[in-house]
Amino acid sequence: MKRVFDEDSEKVSNLCPFSRQIEVYCESVGKKDPPDFLTEHYENCEKCRPYFIKYGNELERLESLIPKVLKEDIIEEEINILKIWNQFRRKKSIFSFD
Protein backbone atom coordinates (compact mmCIF):
# COMPACT_ATOMS: atom_id res chain seq x y z
CA MET A 1 0.00 0.00 0.00
CA LYS A 2 2.84 2.31 0.91
CA ARG A 3 4.57 1.52 -2.36
CA VAL A 4 1.51 2.66 -4.39
CA PHE A 5 1.40 5.92 -2.46
CA ASP A 6 5.10 6.50 -3.08
CA GLU A 7 4.66 5.84 -6.78
CA ASP A 8 1.74 8.27 -6.98
CA SER A 9 3.51 11.03 -5.09
CA GLU A 10 6.57 10.57 -7.26
CA LYS A 11 4.41 10.78 -10.38
CA VAL A 12 2.70 13.94 -9.13
CA SER A 13 5.92 15.66 -8.07
CA ASN A 14 7.41 14.99 -11.51
CA LEU A 15 4.54 16.74 -13.27
CA CYS A 16 4.99 20.28 -14.47
CA PRO A 17 2.61 22.55 -12.47
CA PHE A 18 1.21 23.80 -15.76
CA SER A 19 -0.15 20.38 -16.71
CA ARG A 20 -3.00 20.69 -14.20
CA GLN A 21 -3.73 24.21 -15.42
CA ILE A 22 -4.04 22.93 -18.95
CA GLU A 23 -6.66 20.41 -17.85
CA VAL A 24 -8.60 23.03 -15.87
CA TYR A 25 -8.43 25.47 -18.78
CA CYS A 26 -9.64 22.86 -21.28
CA GLU A 27 -12.54 21.90 -19.01
CA SER A 28 -13.63 25.45 -18.31
CA VAL A 29 -13.30 27.31 -21.59
CA GLY A 30 -12.61 24.69 -24.20
CA LYS A 31 -10.05 25.71 -26.77
CA LYS A 32 -11.27 29.25 -27.26
CA ASP A 33 -8.84 32.14 -26.72
CA PRO A 34 -6.08 30.38 -24.80
CA PRO A 35 -4.29 32.76 -22.41
CA ASP A 36 -0.84 33.90 -23.55
CA PHE A 37 1.03 32.21 -20.74
CA LEU A 38 -0.39 28.83 -21.76
CA THR A 39 0.36 29.39 -25.44
CA GLU A 40 3.95 30.31 -24.54
CA HIS A 41 4.20 27.32 -22.27
CA TYR A 42 2.98 25.01 -25.01
CA GLU A 43 5.72 26.32 -27.28
CA ASN A 44 8.49 25.99 -24.69
CA CYS A 45 7.75 23.00 -22.45
CA GLU A 46 8.52 19.62 -23.99
CA LYS A 47 7.07 17.92 -20.91
CA CYS A 48 3.66 19.56 -21.21
CA ARG A 49 3.16 19.54 -24.97
CA PRO A 50 1.79 15.96 -25.00
CA TYR A 51 -0.77 17.00 -22.38
CA PHE A 52 -1.93 19.91 -24.53
CA ILE A 53 -2.29 17.51 -27.44
CA LYS A 54 -4.04 14.90 -25.28
CA TYR A 55 -6.66 17.32 -23.94
CA GLY A 56 -7.02 19.02 -27.31
CA ASN A 57 -7.71 15.66 -28.94
CA GLU A 58 -10.22 14.78 -26.24
CA LEU A 59 -12.06 18.05 -26.72
CA GLU A 60 -12.11 17.70 -30.49
CA ARG A 61 -13.43 14.16 -30.22
CA LEU A 62 -16.05 15.24 -27.68
CA GLU A 63 -17.22 18.19 -29.77
CA SER A 64 -17.50 16.04 -32.87
CA LEU A 65 -19.87 13.68 -31.02
CA ILE A 66 -22.25 16.35 -29.71
CA PRO A 67 -24.99 17.24 -32.23
CA LYS A 68 -24.72 20.66 -33.83
CA VAL A 69 -27.47 22.64 -35.56
CA LEU A 70 -26.34 25.34 -37.96
CA LYS A 71 -28.13 28.65 -38.36
CA GLU A 72 -28.41 28.10 -42.12
CA ASP A 73 -30.37 24.87 -41.60
CA ILE A 74 -33.16 26.37 -39.52
CA ILE A 75 -34.27 29.44 -41.49
CA GLU A 76 -37.67 27.85 -42.17
CA GLU A 77 -38.14 26.96 -38.49
CA GLU A 78 -37.38 30.56 -37.52
CA ILE A 79 -40.05 31.87 -39.90
CA ASN A 80 -42.59 29.33 -38.57
CA ILE A 81 -41.89 30.24 -34.95
CA LEU A 82 -42.32 33.94 -35.74
CA LYS A 83 -45.67 33.16 -37.40
CA ILE A 84 -46.82 31.19 -34.35
CA TRP A 85 -45.63 34.02 -32.13
CA ASN A 86 -47.63 36.63 -34.08
CA GLN A 87 -50.75 34.42 -33.99
CA PHE A 88 -50.30 34.04 -30.25
CA ARG A 89 -49.97 37.81 -29.74
CA ARG A 90 -53.06 38.50 -31.85
CA LYS A 91 -55.18 35.95 -29.99
CA LYS A 92 -53.89 37.17 -26.66
CA SER A 93 -54.81 40.75 -27.46
CA ILE A 94 -58.34 39.67 -28.50
CA PHE A 95 -59.09 37.39 -25.56
CA SER A 96 -57.09 39.02 -22.83
CA PHE A 97 -58.91 41.19 -20.30
CA ASP A 98 -55.70 42.77 -18.95
Binding site: V69, L70, I74
Partner: protein
Amino acid sequence: MSTKLLKQFLNNHLHELIGFSYALSGKMQQCEDIVADSILAYSFDKGKVTFDETRNRNLLRDISKLIFGRYLSKKDLPIEEKSQEEDAKDRFFLLSDFERAICFLRHRMSLDIAEISHIIDMSSYEVISALSNSRYFLTGSELEKSNEESL
Protein backbone atom coordinates in the same frame (compact mmCIF):
# COMPACT_ATOMS: atom_id res chain seq x y z
CA MET B 1 -42.30 42.85 -26.90
CA SER B 2 -41.85 43.54 -30.53
CA THR B 3 -41.51 40.92 -33.24
CA LYS B 4 -38.29 42.60 -34.30
CA LEU B 5 -36.65 41.89 -30.96
CA LEU B 6 -37.85 38.30 -30.94
CA LYS B 7 -36.48 37.92 -34.44
CA GLN B 8 -33.13 39.16 -33.23
CA PHE B 9 -33.19 36.72 -30.31
CA LEU B 10 -34.12 33.81 -32.58
CA ASN B 11 -31.46 34.79 -35.07
CA ASN B 12 -28.81 34.58 -32.35
CA HIS B 13 -30.03 31.63 -30.32
CA LEU B 14 -32.59 29.50 -32.17
CA HIS B 15 -29.94 27.10 -33.48
CA GLU B 16 -28.84 26.50 -29.88
CA LEU B 17 -32.38 25.90 -28.62
CA ILE B 18 -33.27 23.58 -31.48
CA GLY B 19 -29.93 21.81 -31.04
CA PHE B 20 -30.65 21.35 -27.35
CA SER B 21 -34.06 19.91 -28.10
CA TYR B 22 -32.52 17.57 -30.70
CA ALA B 23 -29.79 16.50 -28.27
CA LEU B 24 -32.52 15.41 -25.87
CA SER B 25 -35.01 13.72 -28.16
CA GLY B 26 -32.90 12.75 -31.16
CA LYS B 27 -35.85 13.61 -33.41
CA MET B 28 -35.52 16.75 -35.51
CA GLN B 29 -39.19 16.92 -36.58
CA GLN B 30 -40.39 17.62 -33.02
CA CYS B 31 -37.83 20.27 -32.19
CA GLU B 32 -39.56 23.24 -33.82
CA ASP B 33 -42.82 22.59 -31.93
CA ILE B 34 -41.04 22.07 -28.63
CA VAL B 35 -39.04 25.29 -28.95
CA ALA B 36 -42.07 27.32 -30.13
CA ASP B 37 -44.20 25.98 -27.25
CA SER B 38 -41.45 26.78 -24.75
CA ILE B 39 -41.08 30.36 -26.00
CA LEU B 40 -44.85 30.89 -25.85
CA ALA B 41 -45.07 29.28 -22.41
CA TYR B 42 -42.30 31.53 -21.17
CA SER B 43 -43.97 34.59 -22.60
CA PHE B 44 -47.38 33.60 -21.18
CA ASP B 45 -45.92 32.89 -17.77
CA LYS B 46 -43.89 36.07 -17.51
CA GLY B 47 -46.48 38.39 -19.01
CA LYS B 48 -44.68 41.25 -20.71
CA VAL B 49 -41.36 39.91 -21.94
CA THR B 50 -38.57 42.04 -23.24
CA PHE B 51 -36.06 40.39 -25.50
CA ASP B 52 -32.89 42.42 -25.30
CA GLU B 53 -29.24 41.51 -25.50
CA THR B 54 -28.54 42.03 -21.80
CA ARG B 55 -31.34 39.68 -20.78
CA ASN B 56 -30.83 37.19 -23.59
CA ARG B 57 -28.63 34.93 -21.53
CA ASN B 58 -31.21 34.62 -18.76
CA LEU B 59 -33.90 34.12 -21.34
CA LEU B 60 -31.87 31.42 -23.04
CA ARG B 61 -31.37 29.73 -19.68
CA ASP B 62 -35.07 29.88 -18.75
CA ILE B 63 -36.31 28.66 -22.12
CA SER B 64 -33.76 25.82 -22.02
CA LYS B 65 -35.18 24.87 -18.62
CA LEU B 66 -38.69 24.73 -20.12
CA ILE B 67 -37.46 22.60 -23.03
CA PHE B 68 -35.79 20.19 -20.63
CA GLY B 69 -38.86 19.99 -18.38
CA ARG B 70 -41.14 19.44 -21.33
CA TYR B 71 -38.91 16.69 -22.71
CA LEU B 72 -38.86 14.84 -19.39
CA SER B 73 -42.61 15.13 -18.91
CA LYS B 74 -43.41 13.91 -22.44
CA LYS B 75 -40.82 11.20 -22.57
CA ASP B 76 -42.12 7.89 -23.91
CA LEU B 77 -42.19 4.93 -21.60
CA PRO B 78 -40.86 2.26 -21.55
CA ILE B 79 -37.32 3.45 -22.20
CA GLU B 80 -35.88 2.05 -25.39
CA GLU B 81 -32.66 0.13 -24.95
CA LYS B 82 -30.02 1.07 -27.49
CA SER B 83 -27.50 -1.33 -28.88
CA GLN B 84 -23.87 -0.83 -27.86
CA GLU B 85 -22.78 -1.52 -31.42
CA GLU B 86 -24.22 1.66 -32.86
CA ASP B 87 -22.32 4.11 -34.98
CA ALA B 88 -19.78 6.26 -33.13
CA LYS B 89 -21.90 9.33 -33.93
CA ASP B 90 -24.79 7.83 -31.98
CA ARG B 91 -22.63 7.26 -28.94
CA PHE B 92 -23.87 10.59 -27.64
CA PHE B 93 -27.41 9.22 -27.46
CA LEU B 94 -26.25 6.37 -25.23
CA LEU B 95 -25.70 8.91 -22.46
CA SER B 96 -28.52 9.51 -19.98
CA ASP B 97 -30.98 12.39 -20.52
CA PHE B 98 -29.22 14.47 -17.88
CA GLU B 99 -25.75 13.79 -19.27
CA ARG B 100 -26.83 14.68 -22.82
CA ALA B 101 -28.40 17.90 -21.62
CA ILE B 102 -25.37 18.84 -19.53
CA CYS B 103 -22.93 18.05 -22.34
CA PHE B 104 -24.87 20.11 -24.87
CA LEU B 105 -25.38 23.08 -22.56
CA ARG B 106 -21.70 23.12 -21.66
CA HIS B 107 -20.02 22.45 -24.98
CA ARG B 108 -22.46 23.84 -27.52
CA MET B 109 -24.15 26.66 -25.63
CA SER B 110 -21.13 27.56 -23.45
CA LEU B 111 -23.23 27.94 -20.29
CA ASP B 112 -21.41 27.88 -16.98
CA ILE B 113 -21.90 25.28 -14.25
CA ALA B 114 -24.24 27.50 -12.17
CA GLU B 115 -26.50 28.11 -15.19
CA ILE B 116 -26.54 24.41 -16.06
CA SER B 117 -27.40 23.42 -12.50
CA HIS B 118 -30.31 25.89 -12.62
CA ILE B 119 -31.65 24.37 -15.86
CA ILE B 120 -31.18 20.73 -14.87
CA ASP B 121 -32.08 21.25 -11.21
CA MET B 122 -28.96 19.54 -9.95
CA SER B 123 -26.18 20.66 -7.64
CA SER B 124 -22.96 22.02 -9.15
CA TYR B 125 -21.07 18.95 -7.94
CA GLU B 126 -23.47 16.62 -9.71
CA VAL B 127 -23.16 18.66 -12.91
CA ILE B 128 -19.34 18.57 -12.79
CA SER B 129 -19.43 14.85 -12.09
CA ALA B 130 -21.84 14.20 -14.98
CA LEU B 131 -19.68 16.29 -17.31
CA SER B 132 -16.60 14.35 -16.38
CA ASN B 133 -18.36 10.96 -16.70
CA SER B 134 -19.82 11.78 -20.08
CA ARG B 135 -16.48 13.09 -21.35
CA TYR B 136 -14.84 9.86 -20.26
CA PHE B 137 -17.61 7.77 -21.83
CA LEU B 138 -17.47 9.63 -25.14
CA THR B 139 -13.74 10.00 -25.53
CA GLY B 140 -12.10 7.61 -23.07
CA SER B 141 -11.92 4.23 -24.72
CA GLU B 142 -10.75 5.31 -28.14
CA LEU B 143 -8.36 8.00 -26.99
CA GLU B 144 -6.61 5.89 -24.40
CA LYS B 145 -4.67 4.07 -27.08
CA SER B 146 -3.74 7.17 -29.06
CA ASN B 147 -2.74 9.04 -25.90
CA GLU B 148 -0.55 6.22 -24.73
CA GLU B 149 1.18 6.36 -28.08
CA SER B 150 1.66 10.14 -27.99
CA LEU B 151 2.81 10.21 -24.33
